[in-house]
Structures are given as C-alpha cells and as structure tokens.
C-alpha cells in the first residue's frame, strides 16, 4: 500500500464510454492481488475533492527505456465515464501526472475447484482479469460476461488469451446471446454443480447470482462498490450491512478494508441497497 505520485503511460477509449488507463507504478506487480483496487486523484486541484476508487484490471511490465535498467511496472484500470471525475480522467494524456493510492482492500480468495466461474456485469469485469490469470493455473475457468449492449462487453479476447472459456450475453442481443448473464450462470451451475463462483457487477445482478449460488450451495465471492472517501478504513464511510445486521443490532463491514471482496455469506443480502452497494452500472437503471 503506497501513495504514488506518478505518470500516465496511456489512456485509450476501449468502446464508447469505456476507457483503459495504464499508469506507471513501481513495485505494483508483486504487491497487487486479484480483486484489489486503487484510489485515483483525477485532478491536482480540489474539485472534485475526493479520489475515485477503481478496480485493478491488471498489472504488468513494460521494457525499460535503456538496457540495464529494470523493466517498468504498471497498473491498468478500465473505467466507465459516469460523472465529473471520470470525465476529467478521460481527458488526461500520456505523460500527465496522476496520484494513485494502492493496492487497497482484500482480494479474492483462490478457492480450489474443478470449475471456476467468473461472472462480470459491464465494468464489473475489471477485478476478474487478474483472478482469471491466477485461476487458469489450476483448472478450468469460465467467464460469463453480460452487458446491456455490445458496448458494455469489454476485453473478452484478453480473457480468451489466458485460456478462459467466455460466454457473452447482452440484454438486447447485440453481442453474444440475448438475455441476462444470470440465465447463462443458471445453465452453467446446472452443468457444473461443483463450481466456485466469483462475481462483480450491478447489485440486481449480484443478488440474482447470490440466489442461484445459495440455491445450488455453490461458494460465491462478490466484489462490491460503495461511496468511498479514504479507501483505507479511516473514515468509515463505505460500510455495507454484514450478515445478521438489523436496525436494533447493526453490523457493518468496511468495504474498502474488509472488502471489496466478500464471501456471499458475510453479507445481509436482503438489506443491501441497489443505490450504493452494487457496481456503478446499476446506477443508470433508476
């Protein structure tokens, strides 16, 4: 965990409204675990004030500029432009400075399982790539990737290159199968009842995934989002309702520190709010 005052290596539009930014981050490759995130300061000024949280899509090395120097480590984020912060972010260029805090939070627990099923909804795909990179070492990995339309389907080829089997679905059928990603999951779970599932996406999707997994007694890990101020467990602004939470006996978990990845049974699903706890994509549905 470190605060980097660093440089943007590239910033490109992936599909309409989605960008991929590569940022120089020495030491990040060894430090970052699948499912962790970073807090990015999108402007050197005070407006917008707070850093924005983004999942780590992947880390990697670039060849050094000269022989003899170590390779350059980078971290990559994928982001969807939704508001003021991400609008500023998309306007930044190679060589611009940026402040980056991370890697933050816990990551996915790599569960041994014959079949590993990753479920990504839109930008919720982000934390699954590094996870897939690890999981392919020890078994079959499938990615079920859903979105509203084809623009929301990102980086699938990169998963395929890892040897992941991918299944794309869109609400409008503009890419892959027409329908919900959870319909695909239902079929896969029927076929691979011994699977372990890892999911990230809008809350309605996560809720459906949880119900399917709970019904099938399949272990599920989910990565949540929450409004965050500090990202390090200091402000207590980002909590979600933990299992057993009730109004009279509240039980909160800190998304940035105890999450963003939770075992499904750590959470009080009936009380999770679509408004905050899902991934940003759910926002638009209101």
């Amino acid at each position: 965990m470190q605060n980097f005052n660093t440089t943007i290596l590239s910033n490109q539009e992936l599909s309409p409204g989605y960008y991929r930014m590569r940022i120089l981050a020495p030491g990040f490759v060894a430090a970052a675990k699948p499912g962790q995130f970073v807090m990015v300061r999108v402007s050197g000024g005070l407006e917008p004030l707070l850093r924005r949280p983004f999942g780590i899509f992947r880390t990697g090395f670039l060849p050094a500029d000269c022989d003899g120097l170590p390779d350059k480590e980078y971290v990559e984020i994928l982001y969807k432009v939704v508001g003021s912060g991400t609008s500023i972010l998309k306007g930044l260029h190679q060589g611009d400075g940026v402040e980056l805090l991370g890697p933050l939070g816990n990551g996915f627990e790599l569960r041994p399982a014959a079949e590993q099923i990753l479920v990504g909804g839109g930008i919720g795909l982000v934390p699954l790539y590094m996870l897939a990179r690890e999981l392919v070492k020890n078994g079959n990995v499938r990615l079920l990737m859903g979105g509203r339309c084809r623009d929301d389907i990102l980086a699938v080829t990169e998963f395929e290159r890892l040897g992941v089997a991918t299944y794309v679905s869109t609400d409008d059928g503009s890419l892959g199968e027409e329908g919900l990603v959870t319909d695909v999951l239902q079929r896969k779970l029927a076929r691979y009842p011994e699977a372990a599932v890892y999911a990230c996406g809008p809350m309605p999707m996560l809720r459906a995934v949880h119900e399917l997994c709970a019904a099938g007694k399949v272990p599920l890990q989910v990565s949540l989002e929450a409004f965050m101020a500090c990202g390090v467990g200091a402000c207590l602004g980002c909590v979600v309702k933990g299992a057993g939470h009730s109004e009279t006996d509240p039980h909160y978990l800190c998304t940035c520190k105890e999450g963003p990845v939770f075992m499904a049974d750590q959470l009080e699903w009936d009380l999770l709010e679509d408004r905050q706890d899902g991934c940003g994509c759910g926002e638009d549905e209101a």
Partner: protein, 314 residues
C-alpha cells in the same frame, strides 16, 4: 528585524505548547479522519506529526448510521458516520498498543450518549498513560440524542465540561460546533467550566439531494460538511474564539496545505488539525509540516510561535 528573526542555518522551531502538552509541531489529524492512526501508518512515519487525534470514542462500541453515509459536494463532503467506533475497551485492547510505539502524544477524542457516559469515558481515559490529552466532542451533529443540545447551548456545554473535568486528570480540549449564532458564547462557557484548550470547528450541518431519485444523498438526512469549502467559516470562528478566551485554540476546518494551516495560525490558533484533506492526499500532513518550516524560512522567522497570532490589522 526583531530578535526573533532567524539565522538561516538553523532549522526553525515548530514546537508549540498547548495546555501543558508539548507538540513537536502544530499539525495533527482531525478526529474521525485518521482512524486510530494505524490506517495511515503505511504512508508516513506518524512521528512526523505534532499529535495523533483518534476517532471519537464512546463507552460501548457504536455501529453508526445507515448508508449512504458520505456524499461529495463542491470542494467538500458530507458525512453522517454516526460516530461508529470500537468502544473504549477495544480501543485499549486493540488500538493503543500500536500507538505506543510512537513518541507522538495521543489525544483521544470522545463523546457520550448521556451525561453519565461522558463522565465515565473521561474517567476511563484518565487512567491511560498512553493518552496525553483528551478532546471532548460536544458538537457532533450526527448523533440525534444528547450531543446536539450540549453543543449549541452554553449551559449544557458548561455542565458536561464541568463533569468531565471532575473525572479527568489530563489536559482537556473541548471541540465546538460551528452551527451556532455566536461561537464566542460557547467558547467562554466551556473555558469557564474548565477547558484547557478549545478546538474548532466541527462540521457545518448540510444536506444534499440526488435529484434524479429525489432522495437525500445521505441516509441520515443531514450530514456534516467538511473540507476546503468550509475553511473561511472556520478561520472566522477561530479568530473570534481567540479574541474571546485565554486558553489556546486549535484550528480545524478545510485545511489542505501549509498556506491553509497558516491562515489559522496567523489569526491565533496555537495548533491545527487536518481532516478531509487526509482522504485527498494521505501525505497531506507531513507536507504541511514541511511547508510550515519553509514558510518560517521565507519569512525569516526562527520560531513558529512568532507566526501565531501575528495578524496585522490594517
């Protein structure tokens, strides 16, 4: 040039004394924005700070408010954490041992849900050798019972300060809310009741609306506004309180850099606290300490105490 003017080779003195506490510099975190210290330890050596102010404690653990608890506003943020905290037992057991490794004085911020609880927490904190001073929060706008009354009514404030004072054998800092017509009335009341120092300001009560959903953006309804947006109000109140009382004043509200901190010091604050800025830049505080040192050099002053209260009235 006065005698206080500096020899350029010497490091300027940044140490200040507050109510018997010796701080190596006037910079500390604001309660609730720095956890119990440990959260920020990866980013800098906490011994670079003048003091470490911990998250507001109550007798028993407190779960806090429903979510969403925070919302960003223009150059500020609203929070209604609801004073979630681990309670005094867990503080002693889980948090204090970590802080023991530093030489920096620990200031424990606390509150009670009743008059008796205020007294009880004070008594417990009084026993802890690791706690150098306490900061009494009578001004939390987010707890609906209790707090709000103490913070805006001079009699009630005096009563709780008197009670706490009786249970306490450590320096007592009282933290005031800005949500009052005349903050000097509150300041004088708590001074008379035994405060050794006054800390101001806590957050301004605010509200924000999600216009697409037509809902409030904070589940609690109102939240406390903090960050650079409120700095002019904080500077004004610190100035007023400095004029009104004899005890030292700690300035808080919207400080993000050394220049911001200097606004407070120049109007007379003896020390400053940095809150929301820690979220914006986890290294904000050590940068402020360095910036204060540089400012002293630039102004040819060898002691920060010459800066404190040095406002020129034209």
């Amino acid at each position: 040039m006065s005698e206080g003017k500096m020899n350029m080779d010497k490091k300027p003195n940044l140490a200040v004394d507050i109510a018997g506490l010796h701080l190596k510099n006037p910079v500390m975190p604001a309660s609730g924005t720095f956890g119990y210290g440990q959260e920020y330890a990866p980013f800098f050596d906490l011994d670079q700070l003048g003091g470490i102010v911990t998250k507001g404690l109550s007798l028993n653990p407190k779960a806090g408010n429903p979510t969403p608890r925070i919302a960003e506003t223009t150059s500020g943020m609203l929070n209604a954490i609801g004073l979630q905290n681990v309670g005094i037992e867990a503080f002693i057991r889980d948090k204090l041992p970590f802080l023991r490794q530093y030489r920096t004085p620990v200031i424990a911020n606390f509150f009670g849900n009743s008059l008796e609880e205020y007294g009880e927490v004070a008594r417990r904190l009084s026993d802890l050798s690791e706690v150098a001073a306490v900061e009494l929060n009578i001004s939390c706008p987010n707890v609906k019972k209790g707090g709000i009354v103490f913070g805006t009514d001079p009699q009630a404030a005096a009563e709780v300060v008197t009670l706490v004072r009786r249970h306490l054998s450590k320096p007592l800092i009282v933290k005031l809310t800005p949500n009052v017509t005349d903050i000097t009335v509150m300041a004088r009341a708590v001074e008379e009741a035994g405060a050794d120092a006054i800390c101001c300001i806590n957050t301004l009560t605010g509200m924000a609306v999600d216009v697409h959903r037509r809902q409030l953006r904070i589940a609690n309804g109102t939240g406390g506004l903090s960050g650079p947006a409120i700095r002019p109000v904080a500077v004004r109140m610190v100035y007023q309180v400095v004029q009104a009382v004899n005890v030292p004043v700690i300035g808080v509200g919207g400080i993000t850099c050394a220049e911001d901190a200097l606004e407070f010091l120049i109007v007379g604050a003896r020390a400053v606290q940095v809150g929301t800025a820690n979220f914006v830049d986890p290294q904000a505080m050590p940068k402020i300490v360095t910036g204060l040192e540089q400012y002293c050099r630039d102004q040819h002053e060898d002691d920060i105490n010459n800066i404190i209260g040095s406002l020129k009235l034209s």
